[in-house]
């Protein structure tokens, strides 16, 4: 057997390689650096590799090639945009993660044990969260540019495994946090199994594991259609699980609530970009010609997801759970971009992902600031009157909520407008109707929170707003400014996306 040495386009792989490298250095720091200097060096390495990765990405932004790594990675305009969005969101999230108030002192200690108390007293810090973040980001970067199913699966696991761990790192209510981490892991493994089954069926159908190979089989129509349908269904289960679409959403509220809030924000924003990036690539590249088979089912899932997320969010009394259901509803809105299956659908999806991700980071950043003596206050009733106590903070949160609701002059409006019009153009009128209807329902609970903050009297129960650290302030204000700019003057970004977003085949 002849062995050919792989040809790799290092420039195009550099964004991912840099982040992987940073993660490995982080592991070394964790093992060898003295405890005192770990936090600062980890933070530095993390930010540095993310920024360097972004710079490397900017450097190759106009390139495009189908075999950046022997046909396993497709480097193209859409990939660049998605990776850029992931990196920006990751940088903002890292600023939130750097506020160590939210993280347990020693992840390995049993909750309530003497070991935990000692760790708390000696003021230990979990610096391992930084390399974990970098590993997750690296997986996310790879996920939307994978062009064969094996790489896709590897990327899925690389991004998921660190997230399972990160979900269990909360400082307070640790049992809840660990429970959510375990749940996330079990269900994630379960859905990965579906994903692998899907890969097997698709290989059986086409004899190929590359996205382009599958597409050619679909066009040729040579294979066994049952295998194709099973493959599409199983792959979809795995991917829809990651984005939290109904009925594969059940983990979302529990994990969003249990995980440290900074991690929740990171998960909600960055994972969504990566997972939807992969969904868009697979459906636009491989399954586009088998539209007849999956589109009706996908429409049903999108509709159920939008309605379910919006309706259930109304009854939530915990801010993080409410945001979790809101993220489910947003997954439904985003699915309409997949269903549109057109250039404008792709453009709108990418814009929506970026806008939603940024606003999400900002909103969760604010959630980290509302605390009482025992940590963050999730109970919405205790948020009442917040507008009177901290007007700026409450107004900013209200602004993010308005963006989620899609009110004009926020990025959310532009995103919803473009994604629904793309769906409408491609003939999915039902999506448009349900989308607008559930947006209205969703607006109800966002505005309920705003009313609660501004028109109810404050409760005197020790709930207070802590003064944010400089990095948290940066994250929140950058998110707010970007959300505003994208709402007022979105033309440059839309033009950029329109000119860049393209899947190479």
């Amino acid at each position: 057997m002849e062995f050919t040495s792989p040809v790799l386009n290092y420039a195009q792989l550099a964004p991912m390689l840099i982040v992987f490298g940073g993660a490995l250095i982080g592991v070394l720091i964790e093992a060898f650096a003295p405890r005192a200097s770990r936090f600062s060096s980890q933070l530095f390495i993390t930010i540095f590799s993310l920024v360097a990765s972004f710079a490397a990405l900017v450097n190759v932004r106009n390139q495009s090639s189908a075999d950046a790594a022997m046909g396993s990675v497709a480097f193209d305009g859409a990939g660049v945009l998605l990776q850029g969005a992931i990196l920006i969101i990751a940088i903002l999230s890292t600023f939130l993660i750097a506020d160590q108030e939210n993280f347990t002192a020693l992840a390995a200690a049993i909750p309530g044990s003497q070991e935990e108390r000692t760790a708390l007293q000696t003021d230990l810090r979990v610096t391992e969260v930084f390399p974990l973040t970098l590993f997750a980001v690296a997986g996310m970067l790879l996920f939307p540019v994978s062009s064969d199913l094996i790489t896709l699966f590897v990327a899925l696991e690389v991004l998921s495994l660190p997230l399972y761990l990160m979900a269990g790192l909360a400082r307070r209510r640790r049992l809840l946090s660990q429970e959510s981490a375990l749940k996330y892991f079990l269900l994630g493994a379960f859905s990965s199994a579906f994903f692998l089954l899907g890969i097997a069926y698709l290989y059986g159908y086409s004899g190929s594991i590359t996205l382009v190979g599958i597409q050619q089989s679909v066009v040729g129509g040579a294979g066994n259609d049952v295998f194709l349908l099973l493959g599409i269904a199983f792959i979809s289960v795995g991917l829809l699980f990651k984005v939290g679409a109904v009925p594969f959403h059940a983990w979302t509220p529990d994990v969003y609530q249990g995980a440290p809030t900074a991690v929740t924000g990171f998960m909600a924003a960055a994972t969504k970009v990566a997972a939807f990036g992969a969904i868009l690539r697979i459906f636009y590249v491989s399954f586009a010609n088998a539209e007849w088979s999956w589109k009706p089912a996908m429409v049903v899932i999108a509709v159920i997801t939008m309605i379910f997320g919006s309706v259930v969010a109304i009854t939530q009394r915990d801010v993080k759970r409410m945001l979790a259901y809101s993220s489910i509803a947003h997954a439904g809105f985003l699915l309409s971009g997949v269903i549109a299956l057109s250039k404008s659908g792709l453009d709108a999806s990418i814009f929506y992902l970026f806008a939603y991700g940024i606003a999400t980071i900002g909103a969760f950043g604010i959630v980290t600031l509302v605390r009482d003596s025992s940590g963050e206050v999730g109970d919405l009733n205790r948020w009442s009157g917040l507008g009177k106590r901290s007007p700026i903070l409450a107004s900013t949160f209200a602004f993010f909520l308005l963006a989620f609701a899609g009110i004009p002059l926020t990025s959310g409006f532009v995103g919803k407008f473009s994604i629904f019009s793309a769906a409408y153009e491609s003939g999915s009128t039902s999506i448009l109707l349900v989308g607008v209807l559930s947006s209205a329902i969703a607006a109800f609970f966002y505005i309920r929170v705003i009313v609660l903050m501004f028109f109810k009297d404050p409760v005197e129960d020790g709930t207070s707003v802590v003064i944010p650290s400089a990095l948290t302030t940066v994250t929140i204000s950058v998110s707010a400014v970007v959300t505003l700019i994208l709402g007022v003057y979105p033309a440059p970004l839309i033009d950029f996306i329109t000119n860049t977003a393209l899947f190479i085949r």
């Binding site: 349908l229 269904a233 089912a297 259930v312 109304i314 009854t315 033309a491």
Partner: protein
């Protein structure tokens, strides 16, 4: 059309001032007012530079544009944020920045004891920037942005002393009345876009040649409503008197020289619409004629010096609207009167501020008297403004008002006679009430309250008054010498035939106007100078005086025509809303919450049930795809 890249500085300079002052907060307290004044002055300098550039170019290349950025671009719907500086807008630019700078200087001293002076100057700069945006926009949409901007700035400035509830109410009233006008403007823009397919001035002008009469009339009427709201014209005039609650420099800048004339600008700028829509044009004339009489009558009954001046402003703008409604013959005269009025009315408002400054903020003219001796500079500058407004030659108002009266007579037929006579009558009443203001304030015996020590204002306050007084004396002559302003503006409105029939010889019209003025002045002299004036307003007066004191029942009118039916309508709507709409919403809400609670139960917290859900979902998905494909 020539393009330029330096136009944006006109707006950017004062805008930067507003932003810096508002963001810097208390830190800027020491130097904020100086920065604001300097920026306003440099914007004036930029205006002068643009004027010199303009003069150096041949007539047909004088208008310049600058595209700033593509504002909205959705499919074929394209709007650029752009600036248009032509012969018309440069007049406004110089008036706004020139008078604006003088008022900045005046306010340094006038507001020196106010702890929020920096905020005041920030709002002033914001106002200047918005007003410049209004007159420099190259489309109705850009104009609209400035239009709302000046509305906001004037709301902030009128309510500047908002710790007093009456003042807060006044600013609210101005705000609500202006909304009606703004609605007119937005309707005009929407109609223009829907039927003419464009909102830029050039685009609408081009499309107006082929548009239907009905469309143009509709746009014209909507624009007239907008103009009436902003310029305090009948029937939306009620807010101007109450707006006098704001600091006096604000009244001088916003409610005399600039913002209230925006309506005139709007109509003159839209000349191509009104020229092609005679019905709308006729309405403009009627509104102008009614308001000029209305304002003049109200002015005769006011004892509050600022409210008297406000009524007079209303009346003078009525003249401008009247002129603007007279078509190509009147546009240039409307602008001329606007410019001369900007000088003499701003000067008189500043004079009123100076009087109030010396009299412990007393505004009741019945408590003034004999101030001539104590405030000589104020007396002289105010007096020059007075001579200008009543139209005594060779002061500015004589030229501009005479031109309007003459054009009104020349409108032809019975319409011309009616309009001309109204304008003449207005001139007589103007002479009466302005003489009354002069006598009560400066020349009659003193009727002060205790502990009054009138004194002349500091030089920072009288200097702007002097400069404005020079303007009140000279501008009329400058603008009419060789018809300079008319020629200057003719490229904007198109050349019109100057040799039309004169209804009356020019000299006769001037004679009639002067006679009217003389009659007005004489009555005022007899009534106030040569007989005693009560320090309290007499109560046993005729029904007409009482009605005039109540602003010709404008509030009663508003209450019975708008407020009460409005309240009744609101009550009905609230009831409907409560029972029908809320009922539905509650039903939807209850259903949603009920469904939500039911669905929430699916969230058991057990990983095994979640996994089962995923499994069921997967099976359902496969089944679904299966069913669809079979």
């Amino acid at each position: 059309m020539t393009t330029s890249t330096s136009l944006v500085y006109l707006i950017a300079l004062p805008l930067a001032g507003a932003v810096i002052l508002l963001l810097a907060g208390r830190r800027a307290d020491k130097w904020g007012h100086l920065l604001a004044t300097a920026l306003s002055a440099s914007s004036f300098g930029a205006g002068l530079y643009q004027l010199s550039q303009m003069l150096s170019r041949p007539t047909e290349e004088r208008a310049v544009t600058q595209k700033l950025f593509t504002w909205i671009s959705v499919g074929s719907f394209n709007i650029d944020a752009g600036i248009l500086l032509d012969q018309l807008s440069i007049c406004f630019v110089l008036l706004i920045t020139g008078v604006g700078t003088l008022i900045h200087i005046y306010s340094i001293s006038y507001m020196s004891h106010d702890e929020n002076r920096r905020r005041f100057f920030a709002y002033l700069n914001l106002f200047i920037a918005s007003m410049l945006l209004l007159v420099l926009g190259d489309s109705y949409l850009n104009l609209y942005v400035g239009w709302e901007g000046v509305g906001l700035a004037s709301y902030l400035l009128i309510g500047f002393w908002n710790q007093k509830p009456a003042y807060a109410t006044a600013s609210k009233k101005a705000f609500v009345m202006n909304r009606i006008g703004d609605m007119g403007l937005s309707f005009a823009i929407m109609i223009a876009f829907a039927t003419l397919g464009s909102v830029s001035f050039s685009g609408v002008e081009e499309a107006s040649h082929t548009a239907s009469q009905a469309t143009l009339t509709a746009i014209g009427i909507m624009l007239l409503i907008a103009a009436a709201g902003k310029s305090a014209q009948f029937p939306l005039q009620a807010w101007l008197g109450d707006a006098m609650a704001g600091p006096t420099p604000v009244s001088a800048l916003i409610h005399a020289a600039t913002m209230v004339t925006a309506g005139v600008y709007l109509i003159v700028r839209s000349h191509f619409i009104f020229d092609a829509a005679p019905t709308a044009q006729l309405l403009v004339v009627i509104v102008g004629a009614v308001t000029l009489t209305f304002g003049a009558i109200v002015g005769t009954a006011k004892d509050d010096i600022k409210k008297a001046l406000a009524a007079s402003t209303m009346s003078q703008i009525g003249y401008m609207i009247l002129a603007a409604g007279l078509g190509p013959a009147g546009y240039a005269f409307a602008i001329m009167h606007l410019l001369t009025h900007g000088f003499f009315k701003a000067g008189m408002f500043l004079g009123a501020g100076s009087v109030m400054h010396g009299m412990n903020d007393q505004v009741n003219m019945r408590r003034y008297g004999a101030l001539r001796k104590f405030m000589p500079i104020t007396f002289v500058t105010f007096g020059l403004g007075y001579l200008a407004i009543i139209g005594v030659p060779p002061f500015a108002g004589f030229y501009s008002k005479d031109a309007i009266i003459e054009t009104a007579f020349n409108a032809g037929g019975i319409k011309g006679i009616l309009l001309g006579s109204t304008a003449l009558l207005g001139a007589a009443i103007t002479a009466f009430y302005m003489t009354r203001v002069m006598i009560l304030t400066f020349t009659s015996p003193e009727r002060w309250e205790k502990d009054q020590h009138p004194h002349e204002s500091p030089w920072l306050m009288w200097l702007p008054m002097v400069i404005l007084a020079i303007g009140s004396v000279s501008t009329g002559y400058l603008f009419t010498r060789g018809d300079s302003l008319v020629h200057w503006l003719s490229p904007v409105f198109g050349e019109h035939e100057a040799h039309e029939e004169h209804f009356l010889p020019v000299i006769v019209v001037s004679g009639l106007a002067l006679t009217a003025v003389l009659i007005g002045v004489s009555i005022a002299l007899v009534k106030y100078q040569f007989s005693d004036v009560d320090a309290e307003a007499p109560q046993d007066v005729s029904i007409f005086t009482r009605i005039a004191r109540k602003d010709l029942l404008q509030d009663t009118f508003n209450e019975s025509v708008f407020m009460r039916p409005g309240q009744a309508l609101t009550r009905i709507l609230v009831k409907t809303d409560d029972k029908v709409i809320d009922g539905t919403v509650r039903l939807v809400g209850t259903t949603a919450i009920g469904t939500g609670s039911a669905l929430r139960k699916s969230q058991t917290g057990f990983a095994r049930s979640y996994a089962a859900l995923i499994l069921i979902g997967a099976v359902a998905l496969i089944a679904g795809i299966w069913v669809v494909t079979q």
